[in-house]
Symmetry: C2
Subunit: 223 residues, 2 copies
């Protein structure tokens, strides 16, 4: 399979690119609005993987090209760019029958911590689903992973990620993909309408890291 | 300390009563709207504890009497009774300088699962805080514990509970209390304004149990 990671130049995109490259045999393409940024990131990830003993080519492209050629597209971009990015991909007819994975979560902060701040559609995952062509299958996944921990090969993960989709086959495909990653267990959280409760774990784990000594880059595990 | 468990005749109240009795030396009082129901439950819990090798007296009272005499009151009642119960306790001047712990979560269901359904105050925890006398300290805790698992002495817990309060001392006191329970780790989630993200884990763990084979009475652990 060919996996495009849009916004693969930072944050959660970096960790997902490195883990997919290290733990799976899928082709990995870094996408960015500027192809040169994608190229820099791909080079840097190849070096990090090589330093870790993994010789692996990471491809790069602008977001549109990366999307057109992919089987699975991961929308690893900041939540406030999600709407614009989907609009651009739509205008350029880049989205067709791909699986589009969204890990984005809207949050707002105050003095006490971070708070879940969903769009009026109920969740970011459902907003994405509303805006893509009918042929594109939206799957929510990889919301509750701490970016720095994911990008650190020396970190023990031992965490869960929750996967939502209305299409059962696509949901299972992304669960299987998640389970290919060492230290990550992918669980089903059902349909897209269940996404809000999953997304809102993201501010929660950040608040837990803030309020408890010796807890950093907190992940979640269900049992 | 004297801990009153209002609504201690069912659901999460049963598990909390049994665990507090088994794992701590605090006095435990079961409260109910009808004292006779509280008496029946207290008897039944004493028997279950005795069968488990623990000789322990469990007291009982109507909700108002149980509250007046307690240091800590746990509001282990269904969410749709929370408003009325607090109103009654207020009218009878039962609430004074106790710590009032609320584990209640508002949820609604549809074909896909359960969904977090908070009151307009933002969370049930904040609604409780808004309605009690100023002298009463509200603490959110014990939201994400599966009732059946909590009430089963043979079940391994190994789960976390999250504690919120605006008063740091009360928060720490409830964290310490939670940590007295074997198999439960109590963590801070900060102020009451952070309660919504904690409460919404309750429908999430129920959805996870529904959608994943071999997962029942799901709990959560952060690391």
């Amino acid at each position: 399979m060919r996996i495009a990671i849009l916004g693969g130049t930072g944050n959660i995109g970096e960790g997902l690119a490195l883990r997919f490259a290290a733990d799976t045999s899928h082709s990995i393409v870094i996408g960015s609005r500027e192809e040169s940024k994608a190229a820099d990131s791909a080079d840097s990830y190849e070096s990090r993987l090589a330093n870790h003993g993994i010789e692996r080519a990471i491809e790069h492209a602008d977001n549109t090209t990366a999307t057109v050629d992919a089987d699975i597209v991961v929308l690893a971009i900041p939540p406030h760019h999600v709407g614009d990015t989907i609009k651009t991909l739509g205008e350029q007819e880049a989205l067709a029958d791909q699986i589009l994975i969204t890990p984005a979560v809207g949050m707002r902060g105050d003095g006490a911590g971070l708070h879940y701040d969903p769009p009026s559609t109920g969740s970011m995952t459902e907003l994405v689903a509303k805006r893509v062509p009918d042929s594109t299958t939206v799957v929510g996944a990889f919301h509750n992973l701490a970016a720095d921990r994911l990008a650190d090969f020396d970190a023990d993960l031992g965490v869960d990620t929750l996967v939502m989709a209305n299409d059962e086959e696509a949901r299972q495909q992304v669960i299987d993909l998640g389970n290919e990653l060492t230290g990550i267990r992918a669980l089903s959280a059902g349909s897209l309408v269940n996404a809000a409760e999953v997304e809102s774990v993201t501010p929660l784990v950040i608040n837990i890291a803030r309020y408890n000594d010796d807890m950093h880059d907190v992940g979640v595990k269900f049992s």
